[in-house]
């Protein structure tokens, strides 16, 4: 633990205080301190998130929206309070534009079904990029195959940045109804210039959706400043619970879109002949929502807001500089992507060592990294790698942990050569 505690207090950002809020970080793996570098897959949960969920279940729980009694009224207030917190987090114009889903994946599928099948027309196209997570690829393939909507793929450069010229070329025929692009790559760490992408999409009459699954964790997001039309993210990467995600969309889009799933809570009146829909956002929230998870998500949002995105981004910048310096000094190691604007996600390959074997050896030292294609198989293909190992940081990650990783990788290299 000595290594882990040195140098932790950085100016204005006390990473040790933050680590103390995450009970899991004091776990040992096979007698070694846990070095958790897999936050891009899912982040750990701070005490206030756990407490908020426990508190709801122990003192204030009932189903929401339909109850006239104390427990239900209080639970409804708590659940609905998360809409305000999310609206503030991403600077949405209205809390009524916040739709809760299970995760990013459901949010994108909702848009693909409801906007794609409900509003778009055969002959139109959807543009994605070469660096999409499968969540922002497969739903559009399914839309293509079901509805005759074309799927176009914007190229990324060798540096792992979105090729803006290539993107524009896909838009000029004005057939594109929607540009759906990641705001930050979960493989390369690339932060996409969202403002420029939105402006370009709008210039050619397309709407734009950003997959903010990674971005919202690492950057202050402002959907109005970006001029986005849709923005989606997932709670569990933002230090919140599993089982809850978010779709934000402009109100007029949500109002025009038909519902996705039918059931309780999303209806106006119901007869066997015909039902009417509830107002936005309830129209898109069928059934009992993830109540306890929404309450946890609010605590997570308040937690990161209390730290502040200036501090979070600065901390991550330091970690990124340090990680890139240390990793690139390892002979035979190739870090994928070299975007100007990048966050704390580092995928790499190592000559003579397969990513799985690397991950297994690291795991035996208590270091958790991911190996594979990171749910972005076409990107692996584009980069000419079969699989890579990926280390990713969270607000609790320290430079000392990066050193543990780099030092151990040097030994992994010896092992395999």
């Amino acid at each position: 633990m000595n290594m882990m505690t040195k140098n932790l207090v950085e100016s204005g950002f006390d990473v040790q205080r933050i680590r103390d809020d995450f009970p899991i970080l004091s776990q040992q793996i096979r007698g070694k301190p846990l070095v958790f570098l897999d936050s891009a897959a899912s982040a750990q949960k701070p005490r206030p998130v756990i407490d908020a969920m426990v508190n709801a279940m122990e003192t204030q729980y009932a189903n929401v929206h339909r109850g006239l009694h104390w427990m239900s009224e209080r639970t409804t207030d708590a659940y609905e309070g998360t809409r305000d917190a999310v609206a503030r987090l991403i600077n949405a114009p209205s809390r009524d534009e916040i739709v809760f889903t299970k995760n990013t994946t459901e949010a994108i599928n909702l848009v693909a079904y409801s906007y794609g099948r409900g509003i778009m027309r055969p002959g139109q196209a959807v543009v994605i990029s070469e660096m999409e997570h499968h969540a922002n690829l497969v739903p559009w393939q399914m839309l293509r195959d079901a509805c005759g909507i074309e799927l176009r793929v914007a190229p990324v450069t060798d540096a792992g940045e979105l090729d803006m010229v290539g993107l524009e070329a896909l838009l000029v025929d004005r057939k594109v109804g929607l540009v759906a692009i990641t705001h930050m790559s979960n493989v390369l760490g690339t932060v996409v210039p969202a403002v420029r992408v939105a402006a370009l999409a709008h210039e050619y009459g397309a709407k734009v959706l950003f997959d903010g699954s990674q971005a919202v964790v690492h950057r202050a997001v402002d959907v109005q400043a970006i001029d986005a039309d849709f923005y989606v993210f997932t709670g569990h990467k933002l230090y919140g619970p599993t089982g809850i995600g978010v779709l934000w969309a402009r109100r007029e889009l949500l109002e025009a879109m038909p519902p996705f799933m039918g059931g309780g809570d999303m209806i106006g009146t119901v007869t066997f002949e015909r039902s009417t829909w509830a107002e936005v956002p309830h129209k898109f929230e069928a059934g009992t929502p993830a109540i306890i998870e929404a309450i946890g998500l609010k605590a997570a949002i308040e937690y990161v807001e209390a730290i502040g995105f200036d501090a979070i981004t600065a901390h991550e910048g330091r970690l990124t500089d340090h990680a890139l310096a240390r990793l690139s000094a390892i002979p035979g190691l190739r870090v994928l992507g070299a975007a100007q604007d990048r966050g704390g996600v580092f995928s790499f390959t190592m000559q003579g060592a397969h990513a799985h074997d690397i991950a297994t050896l690291l795991d035996r030292q208590g270091i958790a990294v991911r190996a594979g294609n990171h749910c972005a198989e076409p990107l692996s293909r584009r980069l000419g790698v079969d699989s890579s190992a990926r280390a990713s940081t969270g607000i609790y990650t320290t430079e000392a942990e990066i050193d543990v990783l780099a030092d151990t990788l040097l030994r992994v290299r010896e092992f395999f050569t």
Binding site: H65, R66, G67, L68, E73, I267, T269, A278, E279, H282
Partner: protein, 149 residues
């Protein structure tokens, strides 16, 4: 046993809720709209006869709880012979009063509605008070339906 609900179930509200005087269609009404609260099944239909920029007379038909009926009845009383602009303002004031319990700039018309302010202690019942007003405004705006959720 129920002393603590006497604020909401005051004698005025109970009278209007159980024996409303405006629960009928005014003769020669020229606008009407329904208000639905889908979560609970309440439904109010409001009918108005206009006279230039005023509501000459209003009436309603409803199925609903005592609070909804009392609110509808008090509303019909309050808007008779009132200019439509004034009615819109009143609707906002009633909604605010139902939410907060306060009656800002409480003039005579609003004072008559004041017993409804007790509903602010019962958050899920606030809609019962506002539903008839939604229907009234829908009728004045030429719509057929409104919902309150």
């Amino acid at each position: 046993m129920f002393d603590d609900v006497r604020d909401l179930y005051s004698s005025e509200i109970r009278d209007h809720g159980r024996s409303p005087t405006h629960a009928k269609r005014p003769a020669g009404f020229d606008a009407a709209a329904k208000g639905d609260n889908p979560m609970c099944g309440d439904r109010v239909q409001v009918f108005v006869r206009r006279d230039g920029g005023r509501v000459a007379e209003a009436g309603f038909e409803a199925r609903g709880c005592e609070i909804t009926i009392a609110s509808a009845d008090l509303m019909c009383e309050a808007v008779s012979n009132q200019p439509i602009d004034r009615i819109r303002a009143l609707s906002d004031q009633v909604a605010a009063m139902a939410r907060t319990g306060h009656c800002d700039a409480c003039d005579a018309a609003l004072r008559r509605l004041h017993p409804l302010s007790a509903v602010h202690e019962y958050p899920s019942r606030v809609k019962c008070v506002t539903l008839p007003w939604h229907a009234l405004l829908a009728a004045l705006d030429g719509e057929k339906e409104s919902t309150s959720e």
